[in-house]
Symmetry: C2
Subunit: 224 residues, 2 copies
DNA sequence: CACAAATGCTACCAGAGAGTATAAACATAG
DNA sequence: CTATGTTTATACTCTCTGGTAGCATTTGTG
């Protein structure tokens, strides 16, 4: 299917001259770029009109190419959807993991987590929204893989809440359930935020931080 | 279009014998029932597979009727979607208004609001979820009407938060923005709750109450 | 029972869009 | 400049489904 990727493998196996391998690598990069561009435009349409209502002809037209062009980079429409959903949740998960790697108290970490994840969600709203809306259109296998990523997100968040609970910083009676409310609040941003709308991205991010802090705040505490 | 409804009007105008009017009324009720049943089954499919992916043939089959049967009660597929979305938001709005009519302090009212709306959302999950996911599939005119209902919901909720702010019960720096977070938290229930899942409806409702109370709680307060 | 009105179904159409076979255009190498 | 492989477009097919025209059936009425 992916002739270019195959060519690279063969070049590696045969230990061809460096020039050829370099050329193959460049081609791979170009292929990757084309795939990204297709995905980007597709995500615009999926976001605006929904997955089923979007035609690949319209995506192709937007890119000034034709439908068979898309089919030479993705095996079918469903693969496009999967990659978009995957991007949406993976970006959030990566942002969470990076934020968690910053040393600090549970409160400090939580603040960084919410700030970074909220920013990522706003910046990648199309991908996140499509993921939240179109899960039902994924194949069962794809849906399962996406759910695993989502579960990893909720689990890591729950661990942070658990940590804050043990240290006495947070008042949460059930960390894994609270984690779902927090991740829901973050997801909600994608469904509700509108660029150029009544409130700026920064206001929304700051609000999210405040809301989450209050949700886990022990009774009788004031927050910095 | 709606011959039965028309018949009623004519009967009224002509002041026909009571028997006839009663018969016409019964027919209207039957028509209304059929419409409800169609809507109910359609909402199952829209919820499970999405609006675009659902065929009216499959809805008809589920009801043991045929597609033209559906078309004699709804003028097209879009009207079905509109009624489902409308039901989803209208039920929530009505629940909110009824809860607000209960006398009490802002805190007491807010608790009742969250409890009742959360229950309604869980009970009518299909309608609410379809509304949240398929807004983009509505005609512009239908979408506008739905947005108005949503806006009414957020506005009334904001008014309650404003009241609690003035009385000193709530610590919210921007009531109308906070209202959106609260209504988002409630909406999230529809997208996330799963009947027979890990947590019961009652647990979810109680959690929602706790979360909202914390979100508006003044620093230094403990809740009953 | 006969007639009329309401109700539902059979059978169809037209359009759309996912996916593809095949050929043209282009680049690369010798 | 020719040969070879790669990339993209043209031009389809085939299925599916929203919507409808017209026929059949049931129901109520005198």
């Amino acid at each position: 299917m992916h002739t270019l990727a195959l060519a690279t493998d063969i070049a590696d196996l045969m230990d061809k001259p460096k020039k050829k391998r370099a050329a193959a690598q460049l081609k791979d990069e170009i292929t990757a770029y084309k795939r990204r561009r297709i995905l980007e435009e597709a995500s615009h349409f999926f976001f605006a009109n929904g997955y089923e209502a979007t035609t690949l002809d319209s995506v192709a037209e937007q890119l000034n190419v034709t439908k068979p062009f898309i089919y030479s980079y993705y095996k079918n429409k469903g693969e496009l959807l999967y990659e978009i959903c995957q991007t949406g949740i993976q970006l959030s998960l990566t942002a969470l993991e990076e934020a968690l790697s910053v040393e600090g108290t549970a409160s400090e970490q939580l603040k960084i987590v919410v700030e970074r994840v909220a920013r990522i969600i706003i910046e990648n709203q199309r991908y996140v929204t499509v993921y939240l809306r179109e899960e039902k259109s994924l194949t069962p296998e794809d849906a399962r893989r996406i759910r695993e990523l989502r579960h990893a997100f909720d689990t890591k968040l729950a661990a942070l809440l658990e940590k804050g609970k043990r240290s006495g910083e947070f008042d949460v009676q059930h960390p894994s359930r609270t984690a779902i409310w927090v991740s829901g609040l973050l997801s909600w941003i994608a469904l509700w935020y509108h660029e150029g709308g009544r409130w700026s991205a920064t206001e929304v991010v700051m609000d999210a931080i405040t809301m989450v802090q209050k949700m886990v705040q022990p009774a009788g505490a004031s927050h910095a």
